[in-house]
């Protein structure tokens, strides 16, 4: 008996998946091709800051989202809130402690679909503390770029960002929203560490 049509279709699909997986596309972005902002609350008012230096690498194949990888490295000294006094405190020992913890990292493997958005459940290492963090984003491919736009919310105190008097949430809120809008380009260098 000849193989059924269903089986042949399944095999063809498998072969196709295998070949796409083999060339899962690698993408990258940094501060020159996107923005990485944060919005925190201070004395009841929300203000925005941004990171002037970061690197994003994405390995993604829409047919195999479970194999996707997202790796982000942020240079904490590049945190900029347009006020030198506040930046000094932010970079200092009580907040980011950049001398001791120069970088924050986020690593996620495998994305899930949620409507139009993708959801990554990865681990954020910030100020030497590693905790799970969910990041939601949308991916919009165009001819040469992949636009990645999304957000997450970090509870700063989970990572010890705000020591001593700053650990109170009366004047500095605990949740900090992180927003990013990246134009990813095909990766030209080897995978990030």
């Amino acid at each position: 008996m000849a193989p059924s049509l269903t089986l042949r279709a399944a095999l063809a699909l498998l072969a196709c998946l295998a070949c796409t997986a083999a060339k899962a596309e690698a993408w990258q972005a940094d501060q020159n091709s996107g923005t990485l902002d944060f919005v925190a609350t201070q004395a009841g008012a929300r203000f925005q800051g941004h990171f002037r230096e970061f690197a994003v690498r994405l390995d993604f194949d829409s047919l195999l989202p479970a194999n996707a990888r997202l790796d982000v490295t942020i240079t904490m000294r590049s945190a900029d809130t347009a006020d030198a006094d506040r930046d000094e405190v932010l970079h200092g020992a009580d907040f980011f402690s950049v001398a001791q913890f120069p970088r924050a990292e986020y690593h996620a493997a495998g994305f899930k679909r949620d409507g139009k958005a993708w959801v990554a459940s990865g681990m954020l290492t910030l100020r030497g503390v590693t905790k799970p963090l969910i990041v939601r984003f949308e991916l919009e491919p165009s001819s040469s770029e992949l636009r990645m736009k999304g957000s997450s919310t970090v509870q700063r105190l989970e990572f010890g960002v705000g020591q001593g008097e700053w650990a109170s949430t009366a004047w500095i809120g605990n949740p900090v929203d992180v927003d990013f809008d990246l134009r990813l380009r095909p990766a030209t260098v080897a995978a990030s560490p």
Partner: protein, 182 residues
């Protein structure tokens, strides 16, 4: 003719606004001088946040007061020389201008330094200008200079009131006091 004429006085709304603003201005100068002496830190942040909330309160009261002045005209001045009447008018206009200029330059300065203003943590106000460190430094100078001009005009205002009360004895100060002259 009565020896001492009892002048007409401001109504209770105008008087309340006047004295509440006086009290809040004293709070403002106190908070500002406390903040100036504090190192960068949470206490400074809190002191300045209160300074901003009080400043926005003064701005709102100043708007209310100006509107009320259009509804209920100020009582006439007691008889005085022309230059005195003109000087009083100029100093009152200056004080009103400063009641607006002080909070507005403070608000702009806060926006320029990317510290959006919140009124006692209840309402976040819109930013008046985009973050700009150079503009912030300029506005800081302007805000501080205006505060010195405000002190000068407030001093002149008090000196004038005291002169009328104790040298001219024309009862002018009762225009802005809730009790009657004895």
């Amino acid at each position: 003719m009565p020896v001492q004429q009892t002048p007409a006085r401001y109504g209770s709304v105008a008087q309340t606004l006047h004295w509440v603003i006086v009290g809040l201005l004293i709070v403002q100068f106190t908070l500002a001088s406390i903040a100036d002496d504090l190192p960068n830190g949470l206490e400074k942040l809190i002191t300045l946040a209160r300074h901003k909330s009080v400043g926005i309160t003064i701005l709102s009261l100043a708007i209310l007061r100006l509107c009320w002045r259009l509804v209920e005209r100020p009582p006439p001045l007691p008889p005085m020389s022309r230059w005195q009447a003109v000087a009083a008018r100029i100093s009152h206009a200056a004080l009103y201008t400063l009641l607006f200029a002080m909070p507005l330059t403070g608000w702009m300065m806060s926006s320029a330094s990317n510290y959006p203003v919140s009124w006692f943590g209840l309402v976040q106000l819109p930013d008046l200008v985009a973050p700009d460190p150079a503009l912030k430094r300029l506005l800081h100078e302007v805000h501080e200079t205006l505060s010195k001009i405000l002190i000068a005009f407030a001093g002149l205002h008090v000196a004038g009131a005291l002169k009328h009360q104790f040298l001219d004895r024309d009862g002018l100060m009762f225009r802005m006091l809730p009790w009657r002259p004895r």
